[in-house]
């Protein structure tokens, strides 16, 4: 890799990453902020590519751009007052900044402390295999902990999103009452739930 091409790629990608990151803070609209976040993530993926870590780069795009940002957009849209002013978040900014600072300091410390000379000489051809082998052999405990954490998150998400039968019955009854023009129904007085059997056919799916 000659110097000019590498520097061109590095500086333009760095500008893209940092510009996107600062626009996340500057833009007042939450949806705009997520789209700037996507741009920043793409820049980071490009930086991984300049380090010839193509597996990490592709996974970065796959997970952060393709999945997480889309989920963020989805969550923003399903939340009431999705368009609210981004500047309200300044209230929780203090603790968040502290956490970010701690993470940054520890990451920097690890990065400076590590001897990268060995990495520079190693062949980086089949990284997916290397990463997989080191995950299974050397880092099996963090890997398993991550798996357990993800499973817990999955179960938790289902538990949060799942509608109880009783809850659904009350909700359906109140909606029906609104359609009939009777006003809202007292949740206590719902004796016979109109639905019981197929309450959760679509919830589990989505």
């Amino acid at each position: 890799m000659s110097d000019f091409g590498f520097h061109l790629a590095f500086w333009s990608l760095a500008a893209m990453t940092l510009g996107g990151a600062s626009m996340i803070i500057i833009s007042r609209n939450l949806i705009h902020a997520v789209i700037w976040l996507v741009m920043s993530m793409l820049g980071i993926a490009g930086l991984y590519l300049t380090l010839s870590a193509d597996f990490i780069a592709v996974v970065q795009v796959l997970i952060y751009v393709g999945a997480i940002s889309v989920l963020m957009l989805f969550a923003i849209m399903l939340t009431p007052r999705a368009e609210r002013d981004n500047s309200q978040n300044i209230k929780t900014g203090g603790p968040a900044a502290l956490v970010v600072l701690l993470v940054m300091i520890s990451t920097l410390w690890v990065a400076i402390d590590t001897d990268w000379g060995a990495v520079r000489e190693a062949a980086l051809t089949d990284q997916a295999r290397l990463i997989g082998e080191s995950l299974i052999k050397h880092y099996i405990l963090p890997f398993e902990i991550g798996a357990v954490l993800l499973t817990a998150a999955l179960v938790g998400a289902i538990a949060l999103a799942r509608q109880d039968d009783e809850d659904a019955a009350v909700h359906a009854a109140s909606l029906q009452a609104e359609l009939d023009g009777e006003g809202s129904v007292d949740p206590v007085n719902v004796v016979d739930p109109p639905i019981a059997s197929e309450a959760s056919d679509t919830e589990a799916a989505s």
Binding site: V58, V61, L62, P194, E198, A205, S206
Partner: protein, 434 residues
């Protein structure tokens, strides 16, 4: 490396049309003699992109005509037959009309995000061609994480669709975008799992490596993992928004979905990318499951890219066929089909692939004997799974829905959304800017 490739090394002149990589290789070698490295890389990239554009540009114009003609055959009508001989110039006339049409934008639209998507949608649409191997050495970028690259790039398209739907400030566009996002997130799972079977079994993530594995073992993957092929086909047609699964732009429900507000050539760009994506997905189905550029030795005699194009055409015809004959599914049917049928079935086949790979590698089974047995076993398992789904697990038709299906319950029972839905004095979604 095959015999053909060795032959090409000897006869690798620029006019050797069996391997179109020769021309590009000669140009980059010529540049490398006098120029810096980065210039050669840039020229290689630009040449690859131009090559892709030169292939898909004219192909799209023909495909529009082919698709309309074939669908009209399925529907017992003539199709376009006025402009030019047999209506061949109809796509050109359509394109001219679209270019001349006025570009409208809703006044309340989010201006910047509204203008970006028709352009941005091209980026994944072009990038995805980069890892499609047209021959042993004929892919623009033969990444060793090619399969992941394919999934990552196709996943970004959904973001663009979301931008289009949200910025239009139109409830139909927003619904279309939300459906597209929900469907794409869901159908990416069986897609990934179907490809994971191939990756596990062949032991490589390179697209060309998967083709070379099929060539080496003398078998195509649709025989070994038919259910993965079926799942991938259906998931791909769902991601492409084609008719059995095109609920994100269902014209009888939500006008045109996410591109409701796009007029003229902006709509044309969406349409073109959609057709191009259909073509490239046909190419990938042909590559992963039908052997790609390889066909039991015929690739020694016929240029490999012609074999791939023929297979692509066959898969594309299948996609038109499903589009012309199958009715559109409802969104809850699509979702439950994905999560209750496709995901468990593809997961089962991932496990099967793990076991069979272990038998081949660790136990050292002879591939010439083991692979036919495994193929028969997997085909039987696939048929069993399909029979099980059709007889037992098939969801019963809902004749009298006992439950009121409204936004609050439909979205998935999220509490916030439900609160919004039950508040009558406010609109359900506050769309668009101020």
């Amino acid at each position: 490396m095959t015999d053909l490739a060795q032959l090409s090394n000897v006869l690798g002149a620029w006019y050797d049309f069996r391997d179109l990589n020769n021309l590009q290789r000669l140009i980059t070698e010529w540049i490398a003699e006098w120029g810096p490295d980065w210039l050669a890389s840039i020229v290689t990239g630009v040449l690859g992109a131009l090559g892709i554009l030169a292939v898909i540009g004219p192909t799209l114009l023909i495909l529009i005509w082919v698709e309309r003609k074939v669908i009209s055959r399925f529907q017992q009508r003539y199709g376009p037959n006025r402009v030019g001989p047999k209506g061949l110039l109809q796509p050109v006339a359509d394109a001219v009309k679209l270019i001349l049409k006025e570009q409208l934008a809703p006044r309340a639209a989010d201006k910047l995000i509204f203008f970006l998507p028709p352009v941005l949608i091209f980026v994944p649409g072009i990038l995805i061609w980069g890892v499609l191997p047209f021959g042993p050495r004929m892919s623009v970028a033969d990444l060793n994480v090619g399969v992941l690259f394919l999934l990552a790039v196709s996943g970004t398209a959904v973001l663009v669709i979301f931008m289009a739907g949200w910025s239009s400030n139109n409830k139909y566009a927003l619904f279309g975008a939300m459906r597209a996002v929900a469907m794409s997130i869901s159908y990416e799972v069986p897609m990934v799992l179907a490809l994971l079977t191939l990756v596990v079994f062949s032991g490589t993530m390179s697209v060309n490596g998967i083709v070379e594995w099929q060539q080496q073992e003398d078998v195509i993957f649709i025989l070994l993992f038919p259910l993965s092929a079926i799942a991938f086909f259906f998931a791909a047609s769902a991601e492409l928004n084609r008719t059995p699964a095109d609920i994100s732009e269902a014209e009888s429900e939500i006008v045109a979905g996410y591109h409701t507000e796009y007029s003229g050539m902006r709509f044309g760009l969406f349409y073109a990318v959609e057709l191009g994506n259909t073509l490239v997905v046909s190419g990938f189905i042909a590559t992963f499951f039908l052997g790609g550029w390889w066909l039991w030795g015929l690739d020694q005699w016929v240029p490999s890219w012609i074999i791939l194009l023929v297979k692509t055409g066959a898969v594309y015809f299948l996609l038109i066929w499903t589009r012309g004959t199958l009715p559109r599914l409802r969104i809850d049917q699509l979702m439950s089909f994905c999560w209750k049928a496709l995901v468990p079935a593809t997961l089962l086949f991932v496990v099967v692939a793990f076991v069979e790979r272990t038998l081949l590698i660790s136990e050292g089974w002879d591939t010439t004997v083991a692979l036919p047995i495994m193929a028969v076993f997997n085909i039987a398992l696939t048929l069993g799974a399909i029979m099980l789904f059709a007889r037992v697990a098939r969801p019963a038709p809902l004749r009298r829905p006992a439950r009121i299906r409204m936004a609050g319950t439909e979205i998935g029972g999220l509490r916030a959304a439900r609160q919004v839905a039950s508040r009558t004095e406010e609109p359900q979604f506050q769309v668009g800017g101020d």
